[in-house]
Amino acid sequence: MTKYWWKITAILCIVYAIIGGFFMPAPDDIGILAKTIRNLHFHVPMWFSMIILLSVSYVYSIRFLSKGNFKYDSLSSSFVKVSLLFGLMGLLTGSFWARFTWGTWWIEDAKLNGAAIGMLIYLAYYILRNSIEEDVQRAKITSVYNLFAFPIYIVLIIIYPRMAETSLHPASGDTIGFSSLDLDNNLRKVFYIASIGWILLGVWIGTLKFRITEITRKNEEL
């Protein structure tokens, strides 16, 4: 039971986010957004989850490089792979949201392009990892790659969009974030819990992937 409490928390938080996202009051009258403002509880936490997974992966890349324990490398690579899953969900939900608010699936915008390039950086990690046959080299090269990739990713996804002059995406360039729209704190009541839920779900899937990777690695060692 003690091992499962945070997984149960994840499920409860997401259930609350879905029910709350659909039925709790929200500012449904903001221009082209209308009720899609409720996507905040689903689209944004995907990116939070991706960033948290990549942070964990980054820490374990450093630990692998300093300690040389392959368990850390498995953890690091598993979390990167699961983070790509969340990035994909973030891109697709964002694209869909854009289609019915901005009227197009994709648009030249600092936030969107930054996120897309950020994804490509980690897709390259995935390809690099699969292309090296030798175990020790694969672990070392991809860990070093990760050391450089993560700071660039953060710059592309958070800092670069903020510095842009104009943007359509909320909280980047000249646009305001949801906090300025949420005058009654109705969104916050759901959003914070939703974020915790999706992040925990991401970590959960990450640990599942890690366990599978570890079993495979140990089987190969024998």
């Binding site: 009720k35 995907m46 899953l85 869909f96 949201w97 599978i212």
Partner: protein, 56 residues
Amino acid sequence: MGHEAMAQTNLDEFFYQEGKFYVVVAVLVIIFCILAAYLFRLDKKISKIEKEKNEA
């Protein structure tokens, strides 16, 4: 300008109903489908490990 006035295709017409509420539903469906597809991948990986274990 009302949202309905901007609707140009059938797709727009559908998703602009009810204050674009179905967009939120669709977003959740997208998330669920990708998670489900990932479950299939994990399932396949576990089957592979089981198979290798039985052969050994």
